[in-house]
């Protein structure tokens, strides 16, 4: 996983609440067996509308998504995170994220930042009135900065450390091999098994 420390870029305002994972990446894209090439599927249905914010020339190349509340609800598809990253997004800001989406994003190095709704509103207004405005998402100082906005955000220390270091969860867990083996040795015999070994 690529480490995330701080990122500065232009931002796209997405004024919709409850943006579910079927909107982020529709099901027919889920047939792919790779982690890349999802950029064209991102918000596919909405992008058919020339007025949709991602289709506006002024927001081309933006890397921060400022979204409405309850972003990423719905299915567990990690493809939603890959699609946002494949498209070029480095961070998503919202007042509330669905749990699984948030977990997936942090595992892939897409920073999801929770800010109060009124701060999100201010950021959306800012980038609507000035699409060239830059937004900085600073994980080192846990702060979002833009013209007229400085807002701290919370992220649990462990998740933050993994992001800052770009650490792979599996290697970290494999260091606990003996704890896992101990646990396995003490599991009751009535626990289900899928096959005889």
């Amino acid at each position: 996983m690529e480490a995330f420390t701080t990122h500065t870029g232009r931002a796209v305002p997405l004024r919709r609440s409850n943006v579910d994972t079927d909107q982020i990446i529709p099901a027919h894209w889920l047939k792919k067996v790779t982690r890349d090439g999802f950029e064209d599927g991102l918000f596919e249905a909405w992008r058919k509308d020339p007025e949709f914010v991602l289709n506006q020339e002024t927001y081309k190349g933006a890397t921060v998504l400022v979204a409405g509340p309850d972003f990423g609800t719905g299915s567990s598809r990690e493809h939603a995170v890959w699609a946002l990253q494949n498209y070029g997004f480095k961070a998503v800001i919202s007042s509330r994220f669905a749990d699984i989406f948030r977990g997936n994003s942090l595992k892939n190095g897409l920073l999801t930042v929770v800010l109060p709704q009124e701060t999100v509103d201010r950021l959306q207004k800012l980038v609507e009135s000035d699409p060239t405005a830059e937004v900085t998402v600073d994980l080192v100082n846990r702060e979002v900065r833009a013209e007229g906005v400085t807002a701290g955000f919370e992220l649990d220390e462990n998740a933050r450390w993994r992001l800052l270091e770009g650490l792979d969860d599996i290697s970290l867990t494999l260091r606990e091999e003996s704890a896992i083996a101990d646990y396995e040795a003490n599991r009751p015999s009535f626990k289900p098994r899928t096959i005889e070994v």
Partner: protein
């Protein structure tokens, strides 16, 4: 202080606990399907890793599988590749797989319980958000992403951030014609699609205790639609009776030891939930959704709401958008909404009890002219049982299509889809824009409402069918 059911199961699975870090939990059962696993197996291969516990892992094919002509090669090459990839991966890594055509194939959340693999007090994960279904057995079951699938394959554990606990207590009797599906839709409308965020919900109370395992699975299944990580119901005699004698249920001394343990899996009297919600079962009615998220629902007797009636601007905006997408107008009675398609199936309502109740309504009646009705059993076992009971004949005689098992129109990854603008009454769990096909419009309903709707051609409950039972009576309104 006492502990809740969820806390007990969690504590029993902690492999390692350290200050400031998420607990590392052991996973008892890992379910796989073709959509969220290929990139995980790829990751293993790249890192030169094995599947740590093939004996705790099982795979089935469900999302892409066709429900017609299953003996022919799958027409869509991309779907075919995905299924072939799963077959290749399972063979290479030694994972048990139930492919299309196998008697144990079906929707992953129907297969686990029917094999007896889902048991009280276990941790169950799957790269699928409706893994919450398995919580009906008192298992701690949650959906995970592909990175986590890879993590579980490699280590049989998952680092998990702590959760909060919510009790939803439903006391009293559900009125006639009101089902588990109506109850969970009403709960989601009440607490909202974000209301359960960060929580594990425990459903309790006398109305929950009276439910069958199938109905409990319907409730826990849709916990995710309320935003919760998982939903659980304490195991009891109903649970034990369901499990006993199933393929993978414990036997002999193991059974006794298991039941003794399962009986300890109850929330202690002095345990405290972070949040409590109380619902009076008697106040409920058949419930349907009118919008594009599962929280946008109302009793069938109500009218399409007026967006202007919402105080919260983002809810108002969402309601406006939803009505526009759904092609509805504020104030229109929900009962007057006509549908093109009825879908009975999915991991929410694709079990034998669901098919029985739909069949009991369709028996001796005809599907309304111009309405397409798809009956898709949740698994091959469910299909076989239905055939044994003659339900398939009831469906086809009524003019419904009896299909092969799979996810089907729940998400339309296979050819079963709505055309743009088409409207369905669906027993599945998500009414998102385009969920059942681009431009498709979905109303979530119970199997009973689905069946009554199929007969009348508009959203309806079985109570509306009085006088419609004569086969010779032309169906429709």
């Amino acid at each position: 202080m006492g502990r809740t059911l969820a806390e007990k199961v969690w504590d029993d699975h902690v492999v390692r606990r350290a200050e400031g870090e998420p607990d590392l939990l052991f996973i008892d059962l890992h379910l796989l399907h073709e959509v969220t696993s290929p990139q995980a197996f790829d990751g293993l291969r790249k890192a030169g890793r094995q599947v740590r516990r093939t004996d705790l892992t099982i795979a089935t094919e469900d999302h892409n599988t066709p429900t017609l002509d299953i003996d022919k090669p799958i027409a869509d090459p991309v779907s075919r590749t995905q299924l072939e990839t799963l077959r290749k991966n399972c063979a290479e890594f030694g994972v048990r797989l139930h492919p299309l055509g196998d008697v144990e194939q079906g929707v992953v959340h129907v297969v686990g319980p029917q094999l007896g693999l889902t048991q009280p007090g276990t941790t169950v994960v799957c790269g699928d958000s409706h893994t919450s279904t398995h919580g009906a057995f008192g298992a701690l079951a949650f959906g995970i992403g592909t990175s986590q699938v890879e993590h579980v394959l490699a280590t049989q554990t998952l680092p998990m951030a702590p959760f909060r606990t919510m009790a939803i207590t439903v006391d009293g009797e559900l009125p006639d014609g009101v089902t588990a599906k109506d109850l969970i839709l009403a709960i989601i409308a009440k607490i909202g699609t974000g209301g359960g965020q960060g929580y594990v919900i425990e459903y309790r109370g006398s109305a929950i205790e009276k439910l069958s395992m199938e109905a409990r699975m319907t409730i826990c299944n849709m916990s995710i639609e309320a935003g919760a990580r998982a939903g659980m119901i304490a195991p009891d005699q109903t649970t034990f009776d369901y499990l006993q004698g199933r393929d993978h249920a414990p036997e002999g001394e193991d059974w006794d030891a298991a039941v003794a343990y399962w009986k300890t899996l109850r929330t202690d009297d002095d345990a405290v939930f972070d949040t409590e919600v109380v619902i009076d079962a008697a106040s409920l009615a058949p419930f349907v959704t009118w919008g594009t998220n599962p929280g946008q629902g109302a009793p069938l007797s109500a009218n399409v709401p007026d967006p202007a009636s919402y105080e919260d601007p983002s809810e108002r905006h969402a309601a406006e958008r939803a009505l526009e997408y759904m092609g509805l107008t504020a104030g229109q009675p929900l009962r007057e909404i006509s549908v093109d398609t009825v879908f009975v199936g999915s991991c929410t309502n694709g079990r034998i009890e669901d098919l029985r109740s739909a069949a009991s309504i369709l028996e001796g009646r005809k599907v309304a002219d111009g309405v397409r009705v798809l009956i898709v059993p949740g698994s091959v076992r469910v299909a076989l049982q239905a055939v044994e009971e003659g339900l398939d004949k009831v469906f086809t005689a009524a003019g419904a299509e009896w299909r092969h098992a799979g996810c089907s129109m729940c998400l339309g990854m296979n050819p079963d889809q709505l055309a743009p603008g088409e409207r369905s009454a669906s027993t599945s769990n998500r009414n998102f824009e385009g969920r059942q096909g681009k431009g498709g419009r979905t109303h979530l309903v119970s199997p009973q409402v689905a069946a009554a709707t199929a007969v009348l051609g508009h959203l309806a409950s079985p109570a509306d069918l009085a006088g419609q039972s004569d086969v010779a009576t032309p169906a429709g309104v």
